[in-house]
């Protein structure tokens, strides 16, 4: 799957209909952009990156969060675990609007989206979180 297909896949799994003309999206080195004119390494608005599953940019994550009903909210402890790349436990979940086995947007107590996970067996399995690039940078240093 390329980045654009991965992007469409998570939107579908989250039941989020974005107003994004996907025909104009361009992929460079696994990063997906809109408003790109030349093929530079980075240009315009970054939609996200290819990964095991699509890794949305902050802007995209917020957009999807507004358009999906599948959400789970975590307490501070859960937020910490999740943004460190870990799963969140049952006791970390303060609220949910999702069913078992659904892909969900994960939010903290301040209504801020912090990532994407699978709601399974009462837990949230980390699929992507906003601390991801920090950990990648640390590894590359």
């Amino acid at each position: 799957m390329n980045a654009k297909q991965q992007f469409l896949e998570i939107c579908k799994l989250l039941g989020a209909k974005l107003q994004q003309d996907v025909s104009e999206l361009i992929e460079v080195n696994g990063r997906l952009f809109s408003n790109m004119k030349e093929k530079n390494v980075y240009e315009g608005k970054c939609i996200g990156m290819k990964g095991r599953m699509f890794r949305p940019s902050i802007l995209t994550l917020e957009q999807i969060s507004e358009k999906t009903a599948q959400k789970v909210w975590l307490n501070a402890k859960g937020e910490f675990l999740f943004t460190c790349g870990r799963d969140a436990w049952k006791e970390n979940i303060t609220r949910k609007t999702a069913r078992e086995q659904q892909l969900v947007i994960v939010l903290n107590q301040h209504e801020e989206p912090i990532g994407i996970g699978w709601y399974r067996n009462g837990k949230v399995e980390n699929e992507y979180d906003i601390g991801d690039y920090l950990r990648r940078e640390r590894r590359n240093r």
């Binding site: 408003n35 980075y42 240009e43 315009g44 970054c46 902050i58 301040h110 906003i130 940078e137």
Partner: protein, 301 residues
């Protein structure tokens, strides 16, 4: 390094009546108005037990009181702020980017100033960010994305190969750094090394002026305190070019550039440049010059 060179470097500051030593400064952030507002960030960080104090001469700068790392909090990951020292927020304030302009950031990674330029442009117009080192491109991309910049293009190449004409040019040049922000500084630097850097800086400054449109602005900055990398670079370049003048930075802090050093007299109006001496300013060491391009022609001899 020999005690000799060490003393030479320290003696130079002494001659200029300054005492430079390693200095701890509080963490300073720049609130990202592309993501949120000042009020919201103040409120949000209060919940993380961080108090912010506005820095009066900066548009978006605040000192923080945090014991925790400001780079590990959710608001950071969401791009609500960038961690950027006081003095290093000033060059872009002086450049004063406007929405709709076309601006080049000649030495961009990790993107502190690129993202600040886009913020002031409200993401309208274009900023071209050049960075020659491949391993520094990732952090530049990540910061641009995190800070919600949508009007930037990154060029992973030597800016000496850049083409085009820009309304404004930022040259935050590679430099020798300074002792106030780097404990190990004295053991790493020599006068020869400093002079090597100065040669590169001169080349880059000529290029900066070539890339600037008539009537446009070039801001030159370094985090070095050495006259060779600052007043001397400005003097050597500007005396070869008829198409430029130094302008007042309109910056309320810092002191004026050196007029003379080691019996070398610097160019006319050099006192319009700014020096941020870490022993007298609430900042790290820094140097900034604002240059106006008047005519698109080199000086005829």
């Amino acid at each position: 390094m020999s005690t000799n060179t060490k003393n030479t470097l320290l003696d130079r500051y002494k001659k200029l009546l300054h005492k430079i030593e390693y200095k701890e400064v509080p963490t300073v952030i720049r609130v990202n108005t592309l993501a949120t507002t000042h009020e919201k960030v103040i409120e949000r960080l209060k919940k993380e037990l961080v108090e912010l104090t506005k820095i009066p001469f900066l548009r978006n700068g605040y000192t923080t009181t945090s014991k925790r790392s400001m780079a590990s909090m959710t608001p950071y990951m969401l791009g609500y702020y960038y961690i950027q020292e006081t003095a290093s927020q000033i060059p872009v304030e002086i450049l004063n980017p406007q929405p709709g302009e076309k601006i080049i950031d000649m030495c961009a990674a990790p993107g502190g100033k690129t993202t600040q330029i886009s913020q002031m442009m409200k993401n309208e117009g274009a900023v071209h960010a050049y960075e020659s080192k491949k391993h520094r491109i990732d952090s530049l991309m990540n910061n641009i994305e995190r800070m919600r910049v949508t009007n930037a293009i990154i060029f992973n190449k030597d800016v000496l190969e850049a083409k085009g004409e820009y309304d404004k040019v930022l040259l935050d040049a590679p430099c020798s750094g300074n002792l106030a922000s780097d404990k190990e500084w004295l053991s790493k630097r020599t006068i020869e090394g400093i002079k090597e850097n100065a040669k590169i800086q001169e080349k880059l400054l000529h290029k900066a002026i070539n890339l600037c449109k008539e009537g446009g602005i070039v801001v030159y900055s370094t985090c070095s305190l050495e006259p060779e990398e600052n007043e001397e670079v400005i003097t050597n370049v500007l005396k070869l070019r008829k198409d430029t003048t130094l302008e007042d930075t309109d910056c309320s802090i810092g002191s004026s550039g050196l007029k003379i050093f080691d019996s070398k007299k610097y160019c006319e109006n050099i006192e319009l440049t700014k020096r941020f001496w870490p022993d007298e300013c609430p900042t790290q060491g820094f140097f900034i010059a604002k240059i106006r391009k008047t005519k698109s022609k080199r000086k005829e001899k």
